[in-house]
């Protein structure tokens, strides 16, 4: 009974966290920036701040203290879950983890926006997100994030790989 109550509280805190730091509406913002011809850096900064606050909040709510790939993977998974993104874990080792995702915010950006523009913003957003999570979990941006952009090119799935870069 007590365990259930604690779990509920964590879930409620998580919901409140995601309500407080909601993602910017890319489906609206990207056409605006495309038309204005600028603003990418500002969007990147906004995404970074939001994701950093979310990652730190998740760590605090779940009591995650370890600075390793497992914690990083946990934070990514929570973000996928609460961001309503379907995902399937593929691999998790001490230095690398990968997931398969079937949805991405860029898919909801209008059809009028070209694949090239979507691809550019996809890079920008994923880089900002990854950097924010690395900084929140590992205290430094030593993880690389790579993904095939097959989803925006019409495929049903996309693979995302996070890997730690060895530092001396």
């Amino acid at each position: 009974m007590r365990c259930r109550a604690v779990k509920k509280t964590a879930e409620e805190r998580m919901k409140a966290l995601f309500a407080k730091y909601s993602f910017p509406p890319l489906e609206v913002i990207i056409p605006i920036l495309e038309k204005a011809g600028r603003g990418e850096r500002e969007l990147e900064a906004q995404m970074y701040d939001t994701q950093l606050a979310l990652a730190k909040g998740i760590k605090e709510i779940l009591g995650l203290k370890d600075k390793n790939v497992k914690t990083l993977a946990k934070v990514w998974e929570v973000m996928f879950t609460f961001g309503e993104q379907k995902f399937e874990p593929i691999e998790l080792t001490d230095s690398r983890f990968s997931v398969s995702i079937s949805d991405c915010p860029m898919l909801h950006v209008g059809k009028d926006v070209s694949v090239n523009v979507k691809s550019k913003f996809c890079d920008l957003i994923c880089t900002a997100g990854s950097k924010a999570r690395n900084n929140a979990v590992l205290d430094q941006d030593i993880g690389t994030c790579s993904w095939d952009k097959s989803l925006i090119k019409g495929s049903r799935r996309c693979k995302l790989v996070i890997e730690l870069v060895k530092t001396k």
């Binding site: 998580m14 056409p31 204005a36």
Partner: protein, 332 residues
């Protein structure tokens, strides 16, 4: 989902079975039926319809009883909302915030050429209008409940479109419990109903749209410094409105109002279905007894053979469908 698929499958099997039975009856029995048999069939059919009508009436009365019970429970709670939860100051301040938002986003909508942005702002204007009209109705009811004359405080701020919306909603309020339905409607425009799970509602809410607009305005502010005032005003209004509405929402959930209203909606829908079934099962025996039976001579019976066979088959199918329907109601 699975349940409805099972029911559909069951109904399909029943329809096919009855279709086959009908063909068999037509080929083997109807041809050899005489006048006396026809009369017996019609009498039995009428009796079956009468029995079904009894069952339906019992169901209708039961549902009506549940509906009245819920209505009285809600009616008991509604005066507290008008006197305590929704103070005059709260209605006035919420109304002012909504009007300010409506005005700001109407201007923003007019000033943008990006379709997605325009749609977002239009949704905000629609949402604020809907909430404002709801609040004006609640204010009118509150003043009426307290025996005060309506000062037209919110109505005076309305344009013709908003006034039409207000008039329509005000006209729709006939029972005391409907006050709570209006309050819930206002809250639902603002925020998504709470769910048991983490998934968010697919419907966009005014609160979410406003948050999105703040993100956009913040970005535009950095790009061309054009929307500094608009963003700070919207951010402040959003925060004030969130505080005001969340208190009302919390109260509604503590009193289980959304659940009670949803149960009422279900009871009302079932009551409507029972009512229509009752009409069919009253009309059919009357039709048989008053129109067919007195006219039924031997040549007429031969002529109406098919109709009589169909009517009797319908009564059997009616029994089956009613049982299925009762089964469905019990599983809701």
């Amino acid at each position: 989902m699975n349940y409805s698929r099972n029911t559909l499958f069951l109904i399909s099997i029943l329809l096919v079975t009855f279709g086959a039975a009908f063909v068999l009856i037509w080929r083997n029995v109807i041809e050899s039926m005489n006048y006396a048999d026809m009369k017996t069939v019609l009498t039995t059919t009428t009796a079956t319809f009468g029995t079904l009508l009894g069952i339906i009436t019992a169901g209708l009365m039961f549902t009506q009883g549940r509906f009245s019970e819920l209505a009285s429970e809600l009616s008991e709670k509604s005066p507290d909302y008008l006197t305590e939860t929704l103070s005059l100051e709260k209605i006035q301040s919420t109304g002012t915030h909504l009007l300010a938002l409506r005005k700001a986003f109407t201007q923003l909508e007019a000033g943008t050429t990006v379709a997605e942005e325009r749609n977002l702002y239009r949704r905000i204007v629609t949402g604020t209008s809907s909430m404002f009209a709801g609040l004006a109705v609640l204010l009118n009811l509150k003043l009426k409940q307290q025996g005060l004359s309506d000062t037209g405080l919110l109505v005076s701020e309305m344009d013709s479109q908003l006034y039409k919306m207000y008039k329509k909603e005000r006209k729709g309020i006939r029972k005391e419990w409907q006050v709570l339905a209006i309050i819930k409607q206002v809250v639902d425009v603002w925020e998504a109903p709470a769910t048991f799970f983490v998934e968010k509602s697919k419907r966009s809410t005014l609160q979410a749209d406003l948050k999105n607009s703040v993100s956009i305005l913040a970005l535009k502010e950095k790009i061309d410094k054009s929307s500094t005032n608009a963003r700070s005003e919207v951010t402040k209004t959003l925060s004030d409105l969130s505080n005001e509405i969340s208190k009302i929402s919390r109260q509604l959930h503590e009193d289980r109002i959304p659940q009670l209203l949803s149960q009422m909606e279900q009871a009302s829908a079932i009551r409507g279905k029972y009512f229509h079934l009752a009409l069919i099962f009253i009309a059919s025996p009357l039709f048989i007894n008053l129109l067919i039976m007195p006219q039924l001579s031997e040549p007429a019976a031969a002529f109406f053979k098919l109709i009589i066979a169909v009517t009797s088959l319908l009564s059997v199918m009616g029994v089956i469908f009613l049982l299925l329907y009762i089964h469905k109601i019990l599983n809701v």
